[in-house]
Symmetry: C2
Subunit: 323 residues, 2 copies
């Protein structure tokens, strides 16, 4: 990333672009988001110009196992908020993009959301593969949509494990969507998603087994260890809109609570996520690049039980407890 001092002209261009974005000029919004995504030389100027305009829009993370009807429900939520004159920003994180060419999720939303509606802005992002996590771009685009007066900002991903956890890490409110008949899906949800959910949804509530799914989720919540949080389990049928108003109300309520935390602190949390992710990616790469001979002795010690894997890692990276 460039750190050369920017000229007055460059700063002016950024300020002007942000001003036009704030006036709702769709082309300006798209350009700002693209610059934020690309990390161009203008990015720093843009970020500087953006910060005073941040409104602190809540970030609503929406995840869930495949087949739960996420895209349809997100569309129904968008329609609901639009009817109440809310401007909705959407970040669709598509972990499939290396192969599919990306934008599957975003396309689905765009197909149904009115393209000409200035009150909705959808941006598709690749997660960069299963080890890639969310890019810094995703975190900056949250700021971009917020500064462009979109409120709430939704961030959605298909349920593929790591990308769900990543989305949860940067969100203020975490909605986890399930549906009856997903088989192992409920089981899979229990593994990690239940722990992070602020709101659980059983979509396709008109289908057989919906009530049973709800009860399974309630039971799983009740035996969950650790602090007791108040996590509602809501029923929706995205296709006919049932329960969508109630879900939107629950999201808004949780969002108000989250907004009691200053926007700066919420942005800090997102930056810490990025730093953590970059650090772990670096460690993985450093180990993968390690000459096999250097690792052989350590790996042998781990296999024979002479040291733990953590002790081996600490020797390799000279980690210390003091740090």
């Amino acid at each position: 990333m460039t750190t050369t001092p920017s000229s007055k002209d460059d700063r002016h261009i950024a300020t002007d672009l942000v001003a036009r974005m704030r006036e709702g000029e769709r082309h300006a919004i798209a350009r700002v988001l693209t610059e934020l995504e690309r990390t161009t030389p203008h990015t720093m100027n843009l970020l500087e110009a953006l910060v005073p305009e941040l409104g602190g829009a809540p970030v609503i993370g929406i995840t869930g196992p495949p087949g739960a009807g996420k895209s349809t429900l997100v569309n129904a939520l968008i329609r609901h908020w639009r009817e109440h004159d809310r401007r909705v920003g959407v970040i669709a994180v598509d972990p499939a993009s290396p192969i599919s060419g990306g934008a599957i999720l975003g396309d689905r939303i765009r197909m149904t959301a009115a393209l000409e509606d200035d009150g909705v802005f959808v941006r598709s992002l690749s997660s960069g593969g299963h080890l890639g996590g969310l890019s810094p771009a995703a975190v900056r685009i949250i700021d971009g949509l917020d500064a462009a007066d979109y409120d709430p900002v939704l961030i959605e991903t298909v349920g593929t494990g790591q990308s769900e956890i990543d989305v949860a890490e940067v969100s203020d409110v975490r909605v986890v969507i399930s549906a009856p008949g997903l088989g192992d899906g409920i089981q899979a949800m229990k593994s990690g998603l239940l722990e992070i959910a602020d709101i659980l949804v059983v979509n396709k509530a008109d289908q057989r087994g919906a009530e049973q799914t709800r009860q399974q989720l309630m039971a799983a919540l009740s035996i969950r260890s650790g602090e007791r949080r108040d996590v509602p389990v809501l029923m929706t049928t995205a296709t006919d809109g049932s329960g969508v108003a109630e879900l939107a109300a629950a999201v808004d309520e949780r969002a108000s609570l989250a907004q009691q935390t200053p926007v700066d602190d919420r942005r800090q949390r997102r930056a810490r996520y990025l730093i953590t992710h970059a650090a772990t990616a670096w460690v993985r790469k450093a180990l993968a690049d390690q000459p096999p001979d250097q690792l052989r002795q350590l790996a042998g010690d781990v296999l024979s039980g002479h040291c733990t894997a953590l002790e081996a890692a600490q020797r390799l990276f000279q980690f210390s407890k003091e740090k």
Copy 2:
């Protein structure tokens, strides 16, 4: 882990236990695996006694999205191998266990596999939550089952992202199971699982859409970038056994290829996975434990674009490119 020198008696107990395990004494096998899982003071002695007995059984990783019928297909595979007098070891990694109490996968396999059959040994393991990865225990239990003459050793997990990647990392042959009608399931598979699969399976081949699913997978494989590998896409119906013999043959063929790599090198690869995992877990924890004030400046620099997340991580951990 203890590193106190073990007495002659302790070593004798370990050697004796391994000998009884090698004679097929079921109680001895169970005790060895439990000791390996627990990291007791005996673990090191046991590992020492085990290593000369390793046969180099191939480790077959079996993963796939929820609802693909993995457990049923694993049972069908076990039956097939049993009919050919193969002894099958199974490690069922259950990412759900903090809530469900664990052992969901293992129970499903046990229900159908003949409990009294000494030719099958099933061990359930928790993955320790979504950030926990596979435990060192899982890797040691591979050695335990191998030394007890189980060949192949299957390692299965429900499809929840990280645990699938973990299973792939320690396996010699990676089988990824899908099925028609999983909706986003295929999409989700494309994100990471296709990249790691040695064999793809469309289970529930008797259902509508099976051929379409097969063609989607073939298409996704053909546009995959990077080295071209020969990944077969097989059709099975686990419930009536169709295609199971062909799948077993394909697994055996890939296993023979994998066994050209000496068992020591394959164990080394598994140890490197453990070290990598321990290192990244350490980094995560160190960052989570960091006093907020120390991170505030760095996080601010990341948000404003003054440094990248990686640069921030490097400053924090004093990583260097030289290392």
